[in-house]
Amino acid sequence: PTIVAGPGADPTCFAPWSPDIKYMQWPAKTGPFKIALVNGFVGNTWRIQMVKTAKAYAEDPAIKDKIAEFKVVSTGTDAPAQLGAIEDFINQGYDAIVTIAVSPDGFDRVIKLADKNDVVLVPFDNVLDTDAVMQVNEDQLAMGRTWAEFVLKELAAAGKTSGKLLEVRGLAGNSVDRDRSLGIHEVLDASGGAWEVVQVVGNWDDGTAQKVTADAIAVNGQFDGIMAQGGTTGVVQALMDAGHPMVPIAGESENGFRKLVAAHSADGLKGISIGQSPGLVAIAMKAAISALEGNPMPQLISVPLPIADYNQLQDGANYWSDLPDNFFTVNEFPPCGVNVSGPAIMAQSEANTN
């Protein structure tokens, strides 16, 4: 691609990450296009929902005609396999490849090959530490900041400006975990309050998060507020199991968490839920097509954080009390015309059978 001046196409959807982001442009091609999704591993609900969203979005009337072929592979956590799959799709003459990178580094070779062949490579969710490709993500640092700000605000409302906080972190070594935690601590440090933060590692997984939270409560007694990167339903479970009083909590967008907040916010479970949406895949696909059509695109596309706090929760709109806990509630991005509701497609066949 060539580096061009902004602004890019459809800025409400493809919002540049920051004002100083550069723009990229590929030679325009005529569709329909061959597009591939190279996923990492699939053993959790978020990824399954993401794959289903991608498949559903590829059938969306808005873009269906622009796609000649849409192929999805999942390679596991294996970096060479993922790089190999991307290279294979380049060799097969695909026009665009969207991917969730298994590692923020190591894509130099495929980036080079993609450029040589004018293939649009779009990492999203787990993005790369490079500005050589167009990427789509939510701002993890901002997510961390918003979480911390919310908790501090709720505590301040209750008259607390110091105290003990629990931070449940994600997978060690992952950049998302790092950025979210940095955001949280940035705000805490700036607040000037005497905050004692107990960190535990929950691996973004309900079971682990629940176990480590239970341990933390058993050892440290009470916390004044909680910030959990993921597995939030498990964190609240542990809270309730331990008979811990309900405190302000910031967490992910799991349906189960939102259900719990909706049910217990009056008791003090004042929660904020911000999600990394599986719907990101749709925006990445849309961005890829836009780039293939020759539009200038921001190198780093920021998808707005889907935020819902306890005042905004509404059954059937941003959470579903009749659906299982494991779904990620936020999937739609109206400004982008992405209207595939994840929980809805996930629930489809069951709704049919019931």
Partner: protein, 344 residues
């Protein structure tokens, strides 16, 4: 001659045949089948798992197991991601340190098994955790800046290699022409396998590795160097694993202390060993056979990219194919006429 070889290497022969069929079919179905680009891509993808499979094979031949191979590969990759950059001299030194580190780790495994008298399975399970811990210390977050030219040169064809470093008139030398389309990763992989393993196999210590897997007590009373062979086996395992790690770091120009990936590599290495026809009980088989086993494992996943298979059914199909492949040899179980032969 060939008949005798087939009789003695039945598993290996089956593996080669299976691989050939799978690979040729894949190329036939691929839009750019039988091209250099596809071969280079396939080769790159297979190097790390190939080395790890080789690493697993040596202890297995001895009736042991090394559950730390994936972790040692990861540790080596992390070391390489720090060390392999700068001037040519620094790069070579970095690569040397990487290989030395992995090899030493294997040596330590060997010492633990021989002098610590801990069962290999559990000793290497534990040292694997230690290796991952060290990797995380070296590289708390993924990244690194391995020399980019080196990465490009080693992950392409011989021509690209010569071109990158301006050797053999930038790859245009006449004598080089027959070789220019060979992928460098293939040369590295098979080159190291043959240059290291084949000679070792023909030393007394190397042969002792087989002898231990076959009958340890007999090997000891025959005066074979048991301890030395065991230590050598784990050391070689560490060496091959660190070759995998070094290549991985060069290929991805970075290191990533990914525990899940390390675990997956270890388990896949065992699968590759079995697919290659090496007996998990030891005594027979070989490193090259496991390389073929690893290639089979890889080729299976290639098919998902050219066939239209529901993405959410892919993991299931992958599992079923793996089960089917390892059950392949089981037919023989039913043709065994003396049931005592089932209990080796």
């Amino acid at each position: 001659m060939i008949g005798r070889w087939l009789a003695g290497n039945r598993g290996f022969a089956v593996a080669i045949a299976l691989f050939a069929v799978l690979f040729v079919t894949y190329n036939l179905m691929h839009t750019r089948g039988f091209s250099t680009a596809v071969l280079v891509q396939n080769a790159n993808e297979s190097v790390a798992i190939g080395f790890v499979a080789m690493a697993q094979t040596v202890p297995v031949l001895m009736g042991g197991l090394d559950l730390s191979v994936g972790a040692v590969m990861t540790l080596s990759a992390c070391i390489a991601s720090v060390m392999v950059n700068g001037t040519m001299g620094e790069i070579v030194f970095g690569a040397f340190v990487t290989l030395l580190a992995g090899t030493s780790f294997g040596f330590m495994n060997g010492l633990l098994v021989v002098y610590g008298r801990i069962q290999a399975i559990i000793a290497t399970l534990a040292t694997g955790a230690i290796a991952i811990g060290l990797a995380l210390l070296i590289r708390p977050e993924p990244g690194g800046d391995v020399d980019g030219d080196l990465g490009w040169a080693l992950t392409n064809t011989v021509w690209d290699f010569a071109d990158t470093y301006g050797l053999a008139q930038g790859g245009e030398a006449a004598w080089l022409q027959p070789f220019i389309n060979i992928p460098v990763p293939l040369i590295l992989q098979f080159g190291i396998a043959c240059l290291v393993w084949l000679p070792i196999k023909r030393t007394v210590t190397g042969m002792t590795i087989y002898a231990i897997g076959s009958a340890e007590g007999a090997a000891f009373v025959s005066g074979l160097p048991i301890n030395r062979a065991k230590i050598l086996a784990y050391t070689l395992s560490g060496f091959f694993a660190s070759c995998g790690g070094l290549y991985l770091a060069i290929q991805t120009s970075s290191g990533n202390a990914d525990m899940v990936q390390a675990g997956a590599y270890t388990l896949n290495s065992i699968a590759a060993v079995v697919l290659g026809g090496t007996a998990l009980l030891g005594g027979s088989g070989g490193v090259i056979a496991s390389l073929v086993g690893a290639l089979i494992l890889r080729v299976i996943s290639f098919y998902f990219r050219i066939l239209d298979i529901d993405p959410l059914l892919q993991p299931l199909i992958e599992g079923l194919v793996l089960l089917a492949a390892v059950s392949f040899g089981a037919g023989r179980t039913f043709s065994i006429r003396n049931r005592l032969e089932l209990f080796r």
